[in-house]
Symmetry: C2
């Protein structure tokens, strides 16, 4: 084994920071053999100690910027989170010629373009395997493992909290608010769950995956983001009757007209592997022109799964550092100059089949009015469930699966349906993805 | 984009060879951007031309060794298959300082140890992503993506032909021989299907995965290999009644006593993702101490999926060649000197739950005799199905799921049961894997 030393600084010693430290220690022997170097954490930046890890005599700075300025540190691991101080810290580290490993999806999604360029200028790289889908090596798969492919689309369950909530709603018939409270008690959801349930966290991850897959700059502000807060157990059940499950997906597609970037609840056929990814687990399905579909599944969060991804990044960098080489794999797989700014398709033009729930008066002619409105807009009904009215109720839910239609056409058709006298309230609608290429 | 040229030789221009050539051509622009080099196939070794690819003016040699001796070639892609000529070819290429990319699982599994050592001596590497699970980047995941983990076990559906046969048997109630004939007509199975249905192909792949996962030399001759030829549709149906599916798995486990290396039909709980991998698809489930379970799914064979893996290997090598660097990632993730020769556990000591089918006379006392034999050997019955006898028949099948028991204990218990007067013929038995860590 090489006795080359690679010196690491860790900023942030919370759950993930201590998990990373502990994995590096526990598996030091095999990690060093793989890195062909001895990895040593020489400097930790943390506002306070963490009783979950025994850092011994390692130098600790309360000012994390001391780590970024430490001339000995070769790899800085940023685990403080957020996008303000973290961004300054990463910039300082890059300017000082240090490679950076981060688990910070918001930082990469929102500021990746400038940070990657800054890294390139300083002949170092930023690695962020842990920023998407936790311990699943999906970044490496897209950046390297599928390098021969033109990626056509990808779809992922990339927020564990949301998937836990949807899994519980389906399996136990519980409603959204009820499950969210439990998720918060279990520590799966934050006190402010907005990032998770409104899809912002998933959007951060999606935009990173899309840039890697399609070789384009990060365009976080262009992601369409729809949360799961308005989903009802009724919709979950009706979807099931139709042979579908509802998942909160991030979807990126590359077509001749542009790129689709969207996060939203989605009906997927129950036989698909993605439909069977339950609880807090994550999975990403990728369609490449040569390889066809491949899927990657595992823990999307947690101290040690995240640490697994961070350590893999460190080992990659250490292999090259110990040989005195510069890193040959840019952050997005290609050099910044080779990225292509592909246009993001407006949602009006995005075409999918749809699930609709329409509350209608139970009387003759209603269904034919609805059918003729769809027909006027070139939309056909592929499946229909009509339930008998409940005792004393004159209205019934009509559940419709439609053919593929653009959101633009569907907007008009739905508005026309909602204007019918026999229809109550808003039509609920959810996109459908067949996920079959 | 860099204008560094990386020069490639391809030996073998059959299905995979022409697929590789075509993918390299079709996606040249993005592949070159990722490689940060211009990849150029400069020399092809093939006994005959292939009308499926237009190689233009590229030099062709009928003697494939001309490619291994071509001083211009930097990466030799071995796609001729087999283990005699292919081995000599790879040795010649390595001795001449060329990196080698191969899809040849038999070659790697049976001769990898010496070939990897020879590569190391010549300061080049052998890459073989395409040798296991086709286009799924599972080699890279184990070698790099999970580098921080101690891998505890892995289990894979790594032979598409076998999985196609088992999927058809389950979905359509067809018997083995019938489906095999269809698989041969569809081109999924060879005229001589031995390698696939007897598990030899899966054993080749398993031993490669195990060596990567556990950091040990390849031990192909130590893999226990049991095929699917004796499976009956009855067993498939009974398994289903018990909530299981039968899959042909390769399983590698690392325990305190040694390593288990085994390929055999296996009952797995129907809710597991692996149980839902159907048709010719492959999937590998890996349990790491930090990351927990991760799963990798995709096409396990076919021209372009295999080409996808080959091109990924080429891009990895080209990134370093174009920068004049030597490759920093050894074939098995660690240097040959760092591999550990772990003992392979004899099958008698391998412990799993079991599925048993016992044909017994339908009379009082039989079940209690069987139960007491199990009890004598410390085995308990976890589930039992007893069917009424068919019209005019006095014997009934007893289907038993047992607790965990070593093969040694089970051998003795089964022999004792078979010796009972009320039992007919041999007891059919299949291992069970819960796949939950």
């Amino acid at each position: 084994m090489s006795s080359n030393l690679v010196k690491i600084g860790i900023c942030g010693l919370g759950t993930v920071g201590s998990g990373t430290f502990n994995v590096l220690n526990r598996n030091a022997q095999s990690i060093n053999a793989r890195a062909q170097a001895e990895l040593e954490v020489i400097h930790i930046g943390a506002r306070r100690d963490n009783p979950d890890c025994d850092i011994g005599e390692i130098r600790v700075s309360r000012d994390i910027f001391d780590v970024a300025r430490d001339p000995e540190v070769q790899i800085l691991v940023e685990l403080i989170g957020g996008t303000s101080v973290a961004k300054e810290l990463v910039e300082e580290a890059l300017r000082n010629g240090k490679h950076v490993v981060t688990a910070n999806k918001a930082l990469v999604a929102e500021f990746g373009n400038e940070l990657f360029a800054l890294a390139e200028q300083n002949n170092v790289v930023i690695r962020y395997e842990a920023a998407v889908a936790g311990g699943i090596p999906i970044i490496k798969a897209l950046r390297e493992g599928l390098a021969g492919n033109r990626i056509e689309w990808l779809a992922g369950i990339i927020n564990g909290t949301g998937n836990f909530i949807l899994s519980e709603m389906r399996e136990k018939g519980r409603d959204f608010a009820d499950v969210l409270t439990e998720a918060q008690e279990l520590g799966y959801a934050e006190a402010d769950p907005t990032f998770d349930v409104e899809g912002i966290d998933a959007a951060h991850k999606l935009v990173i995956l899309a840039s890697l897959a399609f070789g384009m700059p990060l365009q976080f502000s262009s992601v369409y983001t729809e949360g799961i807060t308005r989903l009802t157990t009724q919709d979950v059940e009706y979807a099931e009757e139709l042979g579908y499950r509802i998942k909160h997906l991030g979807v990126a597609k590359h077509s001749a007209d542009g790129v689709e970037l969207r996060v939203h609840p989605t009906l997927i056929p129950e036989g698909r592997l993605l439909a069977n990814v339950n609880g807090v687990k994550n999975a990403v399905l990728v369609e490449g022109d040569a390889v066809g579909p491949t899927l990657y599944y595992g823990a999307g969060a947690g101290a040690e799964p995240t640490a697994s991804a961070i350590v893999a990044d460190i080992v990659d960098l250490a292999r090259e550092l110990s040989a005195g080489q510069s890193c040959r794999v840019p952050a997005l797989g290609v050099a910044t100059a080779d990225l292509k700014a592909l246009p993001v398709l407006p949602m009006e033009q995005v075409v999918t089949p749809w699930y609709l729930r329409i509350i209608a008066e139970d009387k003759p002619g209603v269904l034919s009015s609805i059918a003729s409105i769809f027909s006027d807009h070139g939309i056909s009904m592929e499946a229909l469930i009509q339930k008998p009215p409940a005792e004393g109720e004159t209205r019934v839910p009509l559940i419709v699966l439609t053919s593929r239609a653009s959101q633009g056409s569907m907007d008009v058709a739905v508005a026309t349906i909602e204007a019918l006298e026999s229809i109550s309230g808003e039509v609920a609608r959810i996109r459908v993805e067949a996920l079959d290429g």
